[in-house]
Amino acid sequence: MTSLSSLPLPPASACGRSTYGTCSRTPAVAWFEVHSENYFADAGRTSRRSTASAPITRWRCTASACRSAPRSARPRASREAEASRRARRARDRLEHLCWSGIGGRHFNDLLPLPYTDEALARVCARIDEVQAYLGRALVVENVSSYYAFPEATIPEHEFVAAIALRTGCRLLVDVNNIHVNARNHGIDPMAFLDAMPRAAVARSTSRATTTAARSSSTRTARRSRPRCGRSTAPRWPGSAACPR
């Protein structure tokens, strides 16, 4: 197996937990990125180990930022509460701009938002709630979608920008997701990138899963760097640079 520490990682690269678990020693990376839900059951045991050597970024998928039902003030399960306490000490706390459940049913997926005024108000309220709990700005990532609600009244890029401006949250601009949405919904990816408030962009990234998507998404990513400021190296799931 290739030693991760021997790979020429850019200093701004991150490392997925699955790769870190196979390393005999800590690789020289800027931070670790963990998928929070995978460690709720173990109350962050792995996170303790990696936090000692490098900052950790909690990357959560299913907090359901646009859930319609009101969220309870405190997490119900003790393990999730423990994970939340650890998340507050994390370097960054990432969340996706999506929803994952309704009516007591949870879908383990990133479901698309209807971009309406009501959804915007709901998402902003939820982000405010989470930021107040964490005591820091949340980092919100745009998602790829395969379905666009015909009832949507706000373009996606205006929706994302409005959230950043209203709540003060930061943005993780996933260029590959923009590329996917451009293909699926016919939007202009450059217009999307231009609409992002540069001061709110924490970083940009690109995670593509196919070779074709990598090449086209990389082109978009290169063009996005002057617009989005700091940018990490493109990270591909399963590649040597940053598998996840």
Binding site: F40, I102, N108, T116, Y147, E151
Partner: protein, 256 residues
């Protein structure tokens, strides 16, 4: 203009719908959600998936997800470590879809010894990979005992060919007719080990409520060379009791 809640309910209903009709873009989410459920439960119940086969296991997961909708992310990502999945699989649901076996929902029922169990072969599907002479029985709350006494394995790769073997261990070949597989599950996952007929009879009798002497008799009846000592040794995965010296003497006398 429908409300946000209405839009989300409508979208959720389209995801959980069984029919393949409707917007193909919604089907992307429908398939992804189902695959997530199957992968999450399959990650913990690896042995069950290998034994039953992917078609049955996936059908069982789909039925489970329909009947017991996931309410929190931890229930899917940690694959229901509290055993609710195996506990809630109903016999009827399995027998309808499983070409391999039937399971008893043994939450409150005591299992019977395999010798007294009714031999029932299931040949409900042309894609059947195996059949069992006795139904799959969960003999304890934390263990599953599978007696594949007549396990027919037309394709050995079905059981032994998985990368890394069962539960990450080296896969054991299961011979036809004489062996039993003890499938156990604890906080770390599911494991399978082959046990001899005598040991299986010993465990089954104890789990059925028999005393040590009767369990020993059952074990010796199944296997005349059954040795009690390793089963009672500290650290044995099948250890259930500390037998008295008199019982060891009896075992030794019977074996001799």
């Amino acid at each position: 203009m429908p409300s946000l809640r209405d839009l989300q309910h409508r979208f959720a209903a389209a995801i959980v719908a069984d029919a393949a009709e409707g917007d193909a873009r919604v089907a992307v989410y429908r398939n992804a959600v189902r695959a997530n459920y199957r992968n999450a439960l399959g990650a913990t119940y690896r042995v069950v998936r290998e034994l039953t086969g992917a078609p049955f296991f996936n059908a069982a997961v789909d039925a489970y997800a329909r009947a017991h909708r996931p309410r929190a992310v931890t229930s899917t990502c940690t694959a229901e470590r509290s055993a609710t999945f195996s506990r809630r699989i109903r016999t009827r649901a399995i027998s309808r879809t499983c070409p391999t076996s039937r399971a008893s929902n043994g939450r409150s029922t005591k299992p019977t010894a395999p010798a007294t169990a009714t031999a029932r072969r299931s040949a409900r599907s042309p894609t059947s990979r195996a059949s069992q002479a006795t139904p799959l029985r969960r003999c304890a709350s934390r263990s599953i005992v599978v007696p594949p006494a007549a396990l027919a394995v037309p394709d050995p790769a079905h059981l032994a060919g998985a990368p890394g073997g069962l539960c990450g261990r080296r896969a054991r070949a299961i011979r036809r007719g004489t062996d039993f597989v003890l499938v156990t599950r604890d906080a770390t996952g599911v494991g399978a080990q082959r046990v001899a007929g005598g040991e299986f009879a010993w465990l089954a009798a104890l789990l059925a409520g028999a005393d040590l002497a009767a369990a020993l008799d059952a074990a010796l009846a199944a296997d005349a060379t059954f040795d009690l000592a390793p089963r009672c040794a500290r650290g044995s995965p099948t250890r259930r009791c500390c037998a008295s010296p008199a019982l060891f003497d009896r075992n030794r006398a019977r074996r001799d």
